[in-house]
């Protein structure tokens, strides 16, 4: 199939960017990123600058790939990362617009590559259980009800790709932050620090320049791991009780 691509080109963080039109011939079995590989091979053989985009595992788990495809982070398929999107969902003659994530806290490195270190900073603020290696009790010493473990797991499947902040009109990182809060506070291991954790992580989120949550819900729709906004409700409850309660 023959496709037209409108691709965001930007030399570096400070340069001005713009959309540029490219023609590419794709096969329906290609992944979206393989289609971009083909275009890059063309650009390199013409000795022009290939399009920079982040990617690594290409099986939907590392969270490297990003891209806003026709206005949606990770493209049109529900619960699918860009690397798992395949060209059979497009047809001959289609025009596709490809842009980087747009969020204040994710500065552009080049073309479609953004810097998402702000998410690491949020985890560093408290997204862990404070246990040193060797301090653990036997794995079966603390039974956890299967349903609770499954719920914690659902939250823990977040891949930290940044789609939630990119989808949000406010550029909020609430879905990402709440997924970690929910994962850890649902489990007995994470209970002890739950108050200080939510306070610190929310403060860090604000510090990194992410916006407020106004319950738009776009984050859940575009999350490739289908993380629920129920987690945001849990974060809000945790935050409220941590703010009202005594310091710990």
């Amino acid at each position: 199939m023959k496709l037209k691509l409108q691709v965001w080109r930007q030399k570096n963080k400070n340069a001005k960017g713009s959309l540029k039109l490219y023609n590419v011939e794709a096969d329906e079995h290609m992944s979206f990123l393989e289609m971009l590989d083909v275009l890059n091979e063309q650009l390199i053989s013409d000795k022009s600058d290939p399009i920079a985009f982040d990617h690594d595992c290409r099986e939907g788990i590392c969270g490297s790939c990003s891209l806003v495809i026709d206005g949606r982070p990770h493209g049109p398929q529900q619960g699918t990362t860009t690397c798992q999107l395949h060209m059979r969902h497009y047809k001959d003659g289609d025009t596709i617009t490809i842009e980087p994530y747009r969020a204040k806290a994710f500065p552009i490195v080049k073309d479609l590559v953004t810097q998402r270190t702000a998410y690491d900073k949020i985890i560093q603020a408290g997204g862990y259980v404070s246990v040193n290696t060797g301090q653990a009790v036997d794995g079966n010493a603390i039974p956890i009800e299967g349903g609770i473990a499954a719920k914690a797991f659902d939250a823990a499947t977040c891949i930290g790709c940044g789609a939630c902040a990119a989808a949000c009109p406010n550029g909020s990182a609430m879905l990402f932050t709440s997924a970690k809060i929910a994962h850890l506070s649902l489990l007995p291991q994470g209970q002890i620090e739950h108050k200080s954790r939510v306070r610190k992580m929310v403060a860090q989120m604000d510090k990194e320049g992410f916006g407020m949550c106004s319950n738009v819900g776009a984050c859940e729709v575009d999350c490739p791991k289908e993380i629920s906004t129920d987690n945001i409700a849990r974060l809000n409850r945790e935050y409220l009780s941590a703010s009202l309660g005594a310091e710990d």
Partner: protein
Amino acid sequence: MLNSNVPPGELSTKWTEYRSKMNLVAPGNKRRLEVIVVGTGLAGASAAATLGELGYNVKCFCFHDSPRRAHSIAAQGGINAAKNYQNDGDSIYRLFYDTIKGGDYRSRESNVHRLAEVSTEIIDQCVAQGVPFAREYGGLLANRSFGGVQVSRTFYARGQTGQQLLLGAYQSLSRQIANGNVKMYNRHEMLDLVKVDGKARGIITRNLLTGEIDRHAAHCVVMATGGYGNVYYLSTNAMGSNVSAGWRAVRRGALMANPCYVQIHPTCIPVSGEYQSKLTLMSESLRNDGRVWVPKSIEDAKAIQEGKKTGLDIAEEDRDYYLERRYPAFGNLVPRDVASRAAKVACDEGKGVSKTGLAVYLDFAAAIQRYGKSEALTQGIDNPSASAILKLGEDVVRKKYGNLFQMYEKITGENPYKMPMKIFPAVHYTMGGIWVDYNLETNVPGLFALGEANFSDHGANRLGASALMQGLADGYFVIPYTIGQFLSKEIRTPNISPDSAEFEQAEQDVRDRLAKLKAINGNQSVESFHRKLGKIIWEYCGMSRSEAGLNKAIGLVRDLRKEFYSDVYIPGELDEYNPELEKATRVADFLEMGEIMIVDALNRNESCGGHFREEYTSEEGEAKRNDADYTYVAAWEWDDDGNHKMHREDLEFKNVELKTRSYK
């Protein structure tokens, strides 16, 4: 002869005794000592976090934009531990024995036993971190079985065990970053190792965002940089996985051990076209219920290849369930190396079932029927209709493997509930790696290698769910102790200065190498060279190898390397964000790594585990080991003129008897 520095004593108490008599470093001294950790996968993140907790001054490096992206994240199936929670007769000895046997008797007994010993602590540690392992109704940890063993000792978190374990380690690492014990360098790639007075004292890195070349000094260097599977271009590894850190260490005197031991995983989604960039694994757990087959007749296979028939058109009696036929005792659950070779044999006979002829079926129709009937019985449905059975059966299969079936459908566009899956073997893991002694220290003092980057625990074939175990064992429970054996002698060494002549020289070498690559200014892309290299190594040093083929391949690789250095084209500049330049340095190293793999495969005149030499087979076509001549580790020293020197470590088996692996 290499000295493995294995401490004396009984196998079962060796590690405990050694650990309790080890040299220690006092807390005040730990704060002064600097450690560099390269890589943030399971081994690197767990090592950096634990060394930080102990109070060492750690600098940690990864080439990704975040330490959480390391490829350990993609591991699906699970992690083994000798907990014996199932009361099914598991023990540390049994895990040790299974791993030695699974590795076809080509690993070091003492290391494997230590791995089995610490396996239980890993599970405890991960649970304490909040890793959401699968649980039983009573709230206790669940287990499942993997290939090559007779107990249930695999802990898992759905099909995302690697992700959950890595996030646990990443979070521990994040805590140490936050409290200042670890300084994290994202998007920094190690391009050289620096030795001062023979000891590893630092690295040279390139800041991938800016292109800046930096020197980093420390008292010692720990490499946890993964395997070299991407030599083959197409593998289940991530696009960025590379051998460069390890290879640069080899070029500074470390040794590459057993590089010909590569694991080809039998159940991956087949290649669909020339543009293919990577291959996707379908978990080994699918072979619990899926039946592997090809058509009995070449005519039927041809019709399928030409699109005139599908698998559904082939009658039951015209199908060859070749694993069940050849290996009745283990059937579809034979170990990975055996299953992969059998698929190759079927496709070589012309019985492949895709357009390319390079695929076999993994069929769930029988399982769906079986589960459907049993479910109908459970639900008390009398005389269920065929369609009701189908639906009930599909629901059971969906519960067990839903995410894998969904992934298969996303990639291939075919519904695996209705059409049998098409699968083919693909490069997955490398058992070979940097040679290390019992302390995980290489032959370069002060240089350590952990996880897939070293060679130590899996011999010639790795069992399923053992890679995660080894990565975390090395990082959480081995290196934090053994690093003290080196560092306790360094407490009087002042901080290493990055301004010495050695650092200056190493930095200059890196700058020269990058400038040389950029100056070639030829006409072919880096990717095209990588693809060509992959084809050569896959053809001649892949699932089966022969003397003639390997000899031919050496010439092909050397020619390709020459062509690379005369005709590669790298767009962009050295002092900017430049992914093509990153690829070029990695492919340049793969072009040398490929040669050493071939050299090793040629040297090893036997078949064992993942290394299958066509000349050395039994009458039934099975792998034939040569214990008399090859019960050793081959560790290679690189030579630019091609006279690579082999160093030997003889393997002694005092606790298990060497036997022929049989799955008949």
